[in-house]
Symmetry: none
Subunit: 226 residues, 2 copies
């Protein structure tokens, strides 16, 4: 799970950021001033810090410099107010990885966060669409069709199928599926995975008892073959 520390003294912005990042299933830590932020940075070693430049007690500038001086390489995304042009370059020269100027669009900020995180943890790309036999599944539309007729599937079913399909032909362990499709709060039994696979089979396979695309790998997990 990717952990993000937000250091920001404006409660409105802090809340907006937190909500959005949590919704994107990041782990979020927060601090309201530079000192607390710096302490949390050292103690919790987040994967990314979103750091306001103007902060009470210790500026983002100082937090950044002190962290870098200590060899802490955690990626830092700076928040700067408009007109702090000089500080911009300074922030970047200090070793911040990117900056965003307030007022910023949430979309832009999330895009930058994703970009930074992606550089650190390259993920496996998930497909947007999947076709096999007479089945078409579109993961953006959350739509599935078999022989042209719509099939109702649930969110978890889409999630499981999508992850299996991202590694075609490869056996995927149950705990890998749990890690990828579920979040860390809801971490059910591995049997839950079986149930979801079973219901996907019931909906998309010709004969659920003799699956041809969602195969069991005994003692390991499941694999998808087109």
């Amino acid at each position: 799970m990717t952990r993000i520390l937000i250091v920001e003294d404006d409660p409105a912005i802090l809340r907006g950021l937190t909500d959005n990042l949590v919704a994107e299933s990041y782990d979020v830590l927060t601090a309201g001033d530079g000192e607390a932020g710096y302490r949390m940075l050292r103690e919790h070693k987040p994967d990314l810090v979103i750091l306001d430049l103007m902060l009470p007690r210790m500026s983002g500038y100082e937090v950044c410099r002190k962290a870098r001086d200590e060899g802490i390489g955690t990626p830092i995304l700076m928040l700067t107010a408009r007109g702090e042009e000089a500080d911009r370059v300074l922030g970047l020269d200090l070793g911040a990885d990117d900056y965003v100027t307030k007022p910023f669009s949430i979309r832009e900020l999330l895009a930058r966060v994703r970009a930074i995180v992606r550089r650190a943890h390259p993920p496996t790309a998930l497909p947007d669409e999947l076709r096999f036999a007479d089945v078409v599944v579109n993961f953006r539309r959350y739509e599935a069709r078999k022989s042209g007729s719509p099939v109702e599937m649930t969110r978890k079913e889409f999630g499981v199928l999508r992850f299996l399909a991202s590694r075609p032909g490869e056996a995927v362990r149950r705990d890998e599926l749990l890690n990828e499709v579920w979040d860390y709060k809801n971490y059910p039994t591995t049997r839950t995975v079986d149930n979801h696979v079973a219901s996907i089979r019931a909906k998309l396979e010709e004969k659920a008892s003799e699956p041809r695309h969602l195969l069991t790998v005994h003692g390991v997990g499941y694999k998808f073959v087109p």
Copy 2:
């Protein structure tokens, strides 16, 4: 894959830029003088050009002007040496999208490249008008009609419907709607979205309890289908 053309005569800078952009998984093309750069711009239609202002054979200034004269709208990021202040504005007037002054921080340049690329792949344009079943909605006039009769809708309702309609058939999460239709300062509950969708249904759907165009995607959000 995003393709970037770099036109730069200093081999050291050229190599530094290339390495960094390749590392960020861009496709990189290079040219060492203005003429070659101009030719490659026409032939390869990159998604972005990083263009030095001072170049042998044909200046960045000329390349930019000629390209724009021919209606080539490719985004251009200008590299200018310090003290070329006058040229800066010129470069921007010519239709360059951004500029960076040498010596530049590579991080800053990468940040600007990302910003330009993002702008160029627009987050889906919003429609000005929408028709489905016996409904006509005009988002410029803020007018809606059902079976020819006017229907009163509020600003937020127009906003929500418009964004959903900009991605027909695709499931849109509540937080995406909040990000697009609301601004980051006013960031209400996701339940607020439900209410607005409900009231749009009440006004435009035949039976609000059995919507046929504004559909719920359980666990995800909503989608609009024409």
